[in-house]
Assembly symmetry: C2
Homo-oligomer: 126 residues x 2
C-alpha cells in the first residue's frame, strides 16, 4: 500500500466510499462528490479512483456489464448481483478456491472471487 498526496478531492472520494456498501459507479461517485466540490471533474474522479486502486485502497469490480463499480473493501471477498436492478451485495468468503493443477502451471493467481447471479427480493415482487 503506497502513500499518495491527499488532496481535498481525493479525500472526498475516499470519504464517500468509506463504509459505503452500495458499490457505486464512477458516475454516482462523481455526482455525490460534486455536491461538496462543484468544480470536481469526471477526469479527476477517474484519476482518483485509479490512484486509489493502485494504492490498494479500493477495488474495481467488473461484475456489472454496464459500468465499473467500486468497492471500498480492497480485501478479497465475494459478491451477489441482482441480474435485474444490478444491486450488488458483499458476501463473506467461506472457502478458498484453487485452480486445478493443470492451469496453476499456466497462471499465477493473484486473486479469486465468487460471483452469485440472482434476483433480489425487491425485483422478485414485480
Amino acid at each position: 500500500m503506497n502513500t499518495m498526496k491527499m488532496t481535498p478531492q481525493r479525500l472526498a472520494v475516499l470519504q464517500y466510499l468509506n463504509g459505503n456498501t452500495q458499490h457505486p459507479s464512477a458516475e454516482e461517485i462523481y455526482r455525490a462528490v460534486s455536491l461538496q466540490y462543484p468544480t470536481m471533474s469526471f477526469a479527476t474522479v477517474y484519476n482518483t479512483l485509479e490512484t486509489l486502486r493502485k494504492a490498494g485502497t479500493i477495488q474495481e469490480l467488473w461484475i456489472d456489464p454496464l459500468r465499473k463499480r467500486f468497492d471500498p473493501n480492497p480485501l478479497p471477498h465475494n459478491h451477489v448481483i441482482c441480474i435485474q436492478c444490478k444491486k450488488i451485495v458483499d458476501v463473506a468468503v467461506e472457502q478458498i478456491m484453487e485452480l486445478p493443477d493443470r492451469l496453476s502451471e499456466e497462471f499465477e493467481i493473484v486473486n479469486s472471487q465468487v460471483t452469485f447471479f440472482g434476483i433480489c427480493s425487491a425485483c422478485k415482487k414485480q
Copy 2:
C-alpha cells in the same frame, strides 16, 4: 431453449463460436464473420448474440473490464483471466458454491461462478 430462425448470419456466428475457446468479443466475432459475409453489420452481430443468449445457446461474460466476451458453453463454469492480456480460459467447476443463509433469503440465485485473476505464463515472461 427456444427455437429461432436460422439465417446464414446466425449460422456463421454460431459456427465461429462453436468450439471456440478464446471467449471472443463482439468485435472479434464481427471481424471473423465479416470475412464470409462482407455486408454483415455490427447491429446484426449484437442482435444475433443477444438472440443466442436468450435462447440459452451461449453465455455472455462480464469478466473483461474492456468489453463483453462470449462463451459458446452455456453451462455454468468458471474462468481464469490474465489481468494483463485479458486472455480467458475455462475452469471446470469443482464445487457448488452457496450463499450464506442470511443472503439466500434476499436473493434467489440463478447461477454462480468463480473468477480467478492471475498472470499467464506469456505475460509473466515479459
